[in-house]
């Protein structure tokens, strides 16, 4: 503060000083480029949000106005009325979604991290290349065709129409494991782990107290990916469950927007999309802020 007050006395208007001042105050050039790109990137989402609030007559206009002129909650009301026609109360779908998504995503991230730790950091590990090779190979096998064999497996174990069918298959998340392993390779210095071992720390303690905090950006990012993917997934609940009481919000949204109750389908669809997206954006903002904040605090490593 004191420096700031003193500055006017010593100020000199040489070009380099001004440039340096400008660069410090605003890393402007990249903003000039980034903000238009960000706006362009956001346009379709803005359109979806504004469509959610459009009254019927605006939905029927051609060409459709980009932004809503007289916003109403009609579409949401339609959607709400349509929920009466659902076989079970909407809160049941909501509970299923929240329960399944939270359980799965936490277990997913924990298991992927646990498995990634020895793959990345064990000095000697027989079978490491084989295991890692299998996991990377699994990423490259088109998921669409393994779904029918996967269904057969789920059926054979007797999981059909249980929460287990929604949670357990999702735990084999090769993608998450590959990512965690890649982060641990460089972000956690080997010396740190060696030092802890010399101090007599147990492997679990090393994993939990040293490795995990160092890869906080990685697992926060994985929480985002996992949440969004599971929250939007309508395939597993449609295929792995039979009774209506086991379905999730994503399935309910599909039946709502396709059902007879939704008159203006585009509006109801946009409203549904808006409601479906709101939680994912919230999670994104919460976790992404964590990704950035965690590392700002732990400056020095190794």
């Amino acid at each position: 503060m004191a420096v700031l007050v003193q500055r006017p006395q010593t100020v000199d208007f040489s070009v380099t000083k001004v440039m340096r001042f400008l660069r410090k105050q605003a890393p402007a050039p990249s903003y000039l480029f980034l903000i238009p790109m960000a706006v362009f990137s956001m346009l379709p989402i803005v359109y979806v949000i504004s469509t959610a609030f459009k009254p019927l007559e605006e939905l029927l206009l051609f060409p459709p106005p980009f932004l809503v002129r007289r916003p109403t909650l009609d579409n949401f009301q339609d959607l709400l009325l349509a929920t009466n026609a659902l076989a079970v109360p909407f809160t049941r779908y909501l509970f299923n979604s929240i329960f399944v998504v939270l359980t799965t995503v936490l277990l997913q991230v924990l298991m992927c991290s646990m498995c990634a730790y020895p793959l990345s950091k064990a000095r000697v590990l027989p079978g490491r290349n084989f295991i890692f090779g299998m996991i990377v190979a699994a990423l490259m096998f088109a998921p669409q065709v393994t779904r029918i064999p996967q269904y057969l497996v789920v059926q054979k174990i007797g999981l059909i129409d249980t929460y287990g069918a929604l949670i357990l298959p999702a735990l084999a998340w090769s993608y998450g494991l590959f990512m965690m392993k890649q982060f641990m390779d460089n972000a956690v210095p080997n010396e740190l782990i060696e030092a802890a071992r010399v101090d007599g720390a147990q492997e679990w303690t090393i994993f939990w107290k040293i490795v995990m905090p160092n890869v906080a950006p990685a697992w926060n990012t994985l929480l985002i990916f996992g949440f969004i993917q599971l929250w939007n997934d309508s395939f597993s609940p449609l295929v792995f469950t039979r009774s209506e009481a086991m379905k999730t919000v994503s399935v309910a949204m599909i039946s709502l927007t396709n059902g007879p109750a939704a008159i203006a389908r585009q509006g109801a669809q946009a409203a549904a999309a808006f409601l479906m997206t709101a939680p994912t954006i919230t999670v994104f903002l919460l976790r992404q802020a964590k990704v950035i904040q965690t590392m700002a605090h732990s400056g020095i490593k190794s």
């Binding site: 890393p27 790109m37 020895p118 490259m140 497996v153 084999a172 990512m179 950006p217 969004i228 400056g299």
Partner: protein, 317 residues
């Protein structure tokens, strides 16, 4: 015969007798590691390895989901390469798509992540760039179809007619020449997804003092900084991003079918996964669909190995 059995048993007995704690020693050395990996590997074996192996087996059968699969040897593969003309179109489209959008998407993801990383507004900016991936499918249905709509009310046609660039509406989603470019454009708009967030997270793990040290060692401009410090430090993330870009490029499906339909006009937007989906869930010829999947797997896997080699050959620094 008898002598051989004896030797084998005696060797087995010797080894157990000489080192009675052989297994125990192994367990003591690596047990913890395997315990850490066990939960994931169990689920992985049951829900990924088993289904994938089943799928590979099905590629040698005729399987229509209702009846039991019937083994037919290499017939599916012969059919695929020798007689399926649509599949050749699908390969062409997929390769065009992957070769163009893969590297561009990868480069853009890194560039945007690197540009917004030092900024104060990085979280909101990250949201803006990531948003297309969150709302992907919905936005595609609601917005892009109206933008590229073939009548004069489509936003793009409306605008082009307005400035007098064209005289009558252009069928962006029906003209053979326009379908792939439109698909690639929308795909690039959505490409700030996984790779972008992973790079952003990777950049957070680069210790700040490395940049200070770099300045001391004579790094002058930001480009040198990227080349000598940032890229080597986030190499694991770059490998991850590139593998994901290859997988995403070769398994392009949702963008293509939601914009151009399935089947698309003259198969102009037909991709390998679209072909597979067609046979799996429309014609219910799972055996043939898995053959396509095996081919796609070999293709991406080969490229994946190549990338791994590229990124790890420079690992010593």
């Amino acid at each position: 015969m008898a002598g051989r059995t004896e030797v084998m048993t005696s060797r087995g007995m010797v080894s157990t007798a000489a080192r009675p704690e052989g297994l125990a020693l192994f367990w003591q050395k690596f047990g913890t590691s395997y315990l850490f990996m066990a939960p994931f590997l169990i689920f992985f074996t049951v829900f990924v390895v088993a289904p994938v192996l089943t799928a590979v087996y099905l590629s040698f059968t005729y399987f229509n989901v209702l009846e039991a699969p019937r083994f037919i040897g290499w017939s599916n593969y012969k059919l695929l390469f020798l007689e399926d003309d649509v599949f050749i179109i699908a390969i062409g489209n997929t390769l065009t798509f992957a070769v163009i959008t893969g590297p561009i998407g990868f480069f853009l993801s890194f560039m945007f992540a690197w540009l917004i990383n030092p900024l104060k507004l990085k979280t909101p900016l990250a949201l803006c760039f990531y948003a297309p991936s969150i709302t992907g499918a919905v936005a595609m249905g609601v917005v892009w179809k109206i933008v590229f709509s073939g009548d004069r009310y489509g936003y793009l046609n409306n605008w082009l007619l307005g400035i007098g660039a064209i005289d009558e509406p252009y069928q962006f989603l029906a003209e053979q020449a326009a379908i792939m470019p439109v698909i690639m454009f929308v795909a690039l708009w959505m490409s700030m997804g996984t790779g972008f967030l992973v790079f952003l997270a990777g950049l957070q793990t680069v210790p700040g003092d490395l940049y200070e040290a770099g300045k001391m060692d004579g790094i002058k401009n930001p480009l040198q900084e990227v080349w000598y410090i940032t890229l080597p430090m986030i190499k694991p993330q770059l490998l991850f991003g590139s593998v994901m870009a290859v997988v995403a490029g070769f398994s392009v499906f949702e963008v293509a079918t939601s914009l151009a339909g399935l089947p698309s006009p003259l198969y102009a937007g037909h991709t390998i996964v679209a072909h597979m989906y067609d046979f799996a869930f429309i014609r219910f010829e799972m055996g043939y669909a898995t053959t396509v999947a095996v081919f796609l797997f070999l293709l991406t896997f080969g490229l994946g190995r190549l990338l791994m080699r590229m990124f790890s050959s420079k690992n010593e620094y």
